[in-house]
Symmetry: D2
Subunit: 179 residues, 4 copies
């Protein structure tokens, strides 16, 4: 059977973003789970809201269409999602349909971005996508990664496994039904 | 193939509830779509939060477990869901897993209960269930049904069809994967 | 100047509720801040949704009307608020108008009930009330209190102070404007 | 007494935005209510998320700081708020504190952007701002305005009045308390 393709979307473009280390951690976990993946960084697709298209959009759309599900890594900004992540997501629609969204939150504080995750679940819902229940919440992110961006708390590997097990279950179930 | 079993849950127990007519309308539509169904009325299972069990709970749990998905018909009370619906839903958990929740809203005003639907989607998410994108929003409910409880606007049959098509798609896909 | 009256509403009636210790902690903090207060326990006002009135309702309404703001202590059940809390809150409406709601969350896990708090903020909004930004999140509640119900982590006193400072600011501002 | 200053923020930059007519309608209503106002168009402050500052930011911040409250006019994109509006709002923080946010929604469909309004209320909450209960929901926006951008349904003037009465009440109450 063909491997599932589950890209990891890094949902912030800010300088000093802690979510980059979180996204790279998730990328490694997805690979280790035997899935095909790659990092999609919203920073590579920044555009102004007045620009209806942007460089690389078509290729990006084809990639999102080929995907069997998504891991989204998003910080929480003011109890919501980053504007640049919303601009990115809103560029596409039917690409996401009937595929699972696994949404991970990142926060400097102890809540792990859980409020942004809730808001993103409702956005995913509108795409006819399936926001899965499991999530990885990267709490206290300023202390969670070392200077090389490696995670210090190995407990996150178990969180990621639970998360990816559910994501894989839904990706497999929905792929079979779409085909 | 066995018929899918999709019960309709009427989510309010208040006197004068408009949602009863909406739930009966949905029940008829589910039957017409060739699915097995029945009405589950939260009024038949009212209990106080201090009562850990209530009469008929075990049989109800078995029914919810047998179901392949759910239609929930809920009014919006103060921008949220009714307390009695939450007490009902919180009684169970694993019964709902990996099954679609189709959530319909009811309101006296023009919004069709959309805020209660959003909050319920997030609750469904915690059950490892799949809140589907489609919904039927019963707006201006005081004028929507005649004195026999029949819907006056035939356009709702089309809304219900779109809704049930998506619910059936997910119910079928997830049943196949669960088996 | 007359003292502000800020009752503490304990929002769950379940057996074994951890929120009781959290509510009693908040009650002590409100007293210590020099405010008038008392505990209102939803367990004392349980009723079925079909019962339009319940014993003590009128006196309770008068108390809520006299209040200058509220502290609500709510656990998170399945990413939402308890049904019994919603039944309690939905019994009243104009009593709450133009007064601050300070909402505290309680959870067995590490998120402190933040999702229930978000949903309750939107409910408070419909009451024309002011859901304040500050909150006290009682995380890992099974380990947070000793066998006498005393909080083990003294850091919560500072959290409560920040919370009550904001609540008092809004209660004072809105009382002056209502008068 | 000095007039209250209540700017109207137009929260989308997309080509063909219907919200522009809605924002201009609200601007006229705010003027007619005897308040000082002006239109702030997020299109004039577009920037990429990697740009920590943008032209005009300082002057804009001073204006937002001087304001006594805000009217935000936002469409709903995929059940959430526009990315460009979030980028705009996230640029500031203390400017908003203890001031009312009146949030109006715009949609092509019948829901009037109510889901985006709910998500924005939670964002406003984090700013220590007061998201008021009243809102104007511009429904079926493609048919609501004529070719000159004039609103066709005069009922909206009454909706705007109810909305501005509440916004003014909170702006006045909170200004007095801040001073």
């Amino acid at each position: 059977m063909e491997k599932l393709f589950i890209p990891v979307i890094l949902g912030t473009a800010r300088e000093g973003r802690r979510s980059e280390a979180a996204a790279k951690f998730m990328l490694a976990q997805v690979k280790q789970a035997g899935l095909e993946t790659e990092l999609i960084d919203v920073r590579d697709f920044l555009h102004k809201a007045t620009e209806e298209t942007f460089p690389g959009q078509e290729k990006l759309g084809a990639k999102l269409k080929r995907a069997d599900g998504y891991v989204i890594v998003s910080p929480e900004y003011n109890h919501g999602y980053p504007g640049e992540l919303k601009l990115f997501l809103d560029t596409f629609y039917q690409e996401y349909a009937r595929k699972p969204f696994g949404i991970c939150g990142v926060s400097i504080g102890p809540n792990g971005g859980v409020r942004a995750v809730e808001q993103l679940r409702l956005v995913a819902n509108e795409f006819h996508a399936v926001p899965i229940r499991e999530a990885v919440y990267f709490r206290n992110a300023a202390d969670l990664f070392d200077s090389q961006g490696q995670i210090k708390d190995q407990g996150y590997e178990k969180f990621a496994k639970t998360f990816l097990d559910e994501l894989t279950w839904f990706a497999t179930a929905l792929k079979a039904a779409r085909d």
